[in-house]
């Protein structure tokens, strides 16, 4: 425990703040049902679009639902989907990228071309179609988003794995006649773990934004489930008269994504991966 704390304080301020923001958001999302003063889907038409009061700290939305409760619970869906989708994307992407880098030559060539083809289909179109066909349940969204991001992760992992594969100890292992899978898992992966970690943090921020955009466009979670993207879409017409319903989810969403970005930046620097240069990929 103490070593974790020590490692934590060794990180820069920005990273610590980022991790704290993410941590707080996750904790709040998990504990939300206990923290919310009201049931987030309970309507109360008599008290619609009210401002802040002692009974409703952030006021109410157009159906009289408590904005604070909805904001507290609004991150659950997005966080869950993002966590699962990112994990799936990173896991699959790592596997594909490592395999491509390991076997090289024509395996690598085929895999790269297929990845390119998947990347070429516009992701928004692909997601719209997948959701329209299979519905917008949690598993579908997780798989759809993961599919969209696997190629990008695979390319990064492949790029990071190639230098490792030419290193001495891997060549030695091959010479010893060890089989591929143990080599990949025991020699290659631990050495690119830092890249993978940074990828995870970076990908997570993208996925959170993507999930909220999908909800905004009407392809994500269904009403009346509280979700930040959906809340922004539902409440934006009332922005001029009762802004809290739109502003609170915006601030919450921005805090989470900023936190993820700060954490990813800091972690990256800490392990020597220049995330900014890697850029958007």
């Amino acid at each position: 425990m103490r070593s974790v704390l020590r490692r934590f304080t060794a990180l820069s301020l920005g990273t610590r703040v980022g991790l704290a923001l993410v941590g707080v958001t996750v904790v709040v999302a998990v504990l939300a049902p206990l923290l919310s003063p009201y049931d987030p889907v309970a309507t109360d038409a008599e008290r619609a679009l009210q401002g802040a009061s002692w009974s409703h700290w952030l006021g109410t939305d157009q159906y009289g639902r408590d904005v604070l409760s909805r904001t507290l619970e609004g991150g659950r869906f997005a966080l869950l989907v993002s966590l699962l989708a990112t994990t799936l994307a990173v896991a699959l992407g790592t596997l594909v990228g490592a395999v491509a880098a390991y076997y090289g030559r024509w395996v690598d060539g085929v895999i790269t071309r297929v990845l390119d083809a998947v990347l070429a289909v516009p992701s928004v179109l692909a997601l719209l179609l997948i959701v329209s066909v299979f519905g917008n349940s949690l598993p579908v969204l997780v798989v759809a988003i993961a599919v969209v991001y696997v190629p990008a992760v695979a390319r990064v992992v492949r790029g990071a794995a190639r230098p490792v594969l030419t290193a001495g100890y891997v060549t030695a292992a091959r010479a010893r006649g060890e089989r591929s899978l143990p080599i990949i898992t025991r020699e290659v992966l631990p050495n690119i773990l830092d890249t993978i970690l940074v990828e995870f943090a970076m990908r997570a921020s993208w996925v959170v934004l993507l999930v909220s955009t999908l909800s905004f466009l009407g392809f994500g979670v269904n009403p009346p489930t509280p979700d930040w993207g959906l809340m922004i879409q539902e409440n934006r017409t009332a922005l001029t008269v009762a802004p809290a319903g739109t502003v609170a989810p915006i601030v919450a969403l921005a805090a989470l994504v900023i936190g993820l970005n700060l954490a990813a930046d800091g972690l990256g620097k800490h392990v020597g991966v220049d995330r900014a240069r890697r850029g958007a990929l």
Binding site: V121, L125, L128, R155
Partner: protein, 331 residues
Amino acid sequence: MARMIAARVATSVVTLLLAAFFVFFAVQALPGDVAEQLLGQNATPEAVATMREQLGLDTNVWVRFVEWLGSAVTGDFGTSLVSGESVSASIWTAFSHSLLIAVPAIVVGIAGSLLLGVLAGARRGTSVDSTVSVLALVAMSIPEFVVATVLVLLLAIAAPVFPAVVLEGPDAGVGDLLPAVVLPAVTLVAAMSAYIIRAMRSSTIDGLATEYAVTAELKGVRRRSVLWRHVAPTAVLPVLPVISINVAWLLGGVVVVESVFNYPGLGKLMIDSVSTRDLPVLQAIAVLSALVYVVVNLLADLVALAVDPRQRTLHRPRRRPVVAAAVEEES
């Protein structure tokens, strides 16, 4: 190099085919079809059957795909199931409208971001750097639909400087569209500039730390000159993949923006066509998007090649194991 380009072109064609194939069969799998969607509450079985017959939807699926493929190769993408107009014409119009937003966004976005990135990198640690970095961080953390919504509120409704919505629809002329282009373009710039700024900043910092930049400064060359004439141009190189990804991403980014502003571009056409299950339009959009993606990537590679001669030999077969550092940059 010619071989590389040829190989790229070949795979691009495969990519386009795959994209069209995927979209075709995904739309087949969609619940409901064009006839039911259009008729809505009036979708009595007789009306639906009549419309299906009129639209030629009662023939076999595979046959239709092959027919489509045949005419697509000649540039004829069929007619829209909904409007009955030529798909190529509608797509071209919508695409040109989207370009009206995308091109200024790209030009201003790239130029501005590169400049800001260099500035931030050169003045690393100062308040200029902090401000730019923080703004970039915030910009990449706020989804574009939020930016779009706030912009509409501030600059179209509260203060009617720009139109909130494009009224004219698909037959809007360039003149009608120009005032409506500003807010969407600004939204896109905000969304994509953050990545380029950060990449350029990082690259500039690295560039300023290289031996030859330090040496030049020590020799008395003015810092500004070192920065703008030596470091900046080469610092652009590693940022090129970032730029190309962002430009290719614009096609997706434009969907949200066009939806908020009712802008008659490719993104809006895409959403409408998914909703009405207008298959020929969707396939053409998929092919066009894949084409844009492929072309942009190819261009970025070519620019990189032109600027950095080292890259030309990267893929030549080697007899000896490669030194790790040279392949660090993604191939």
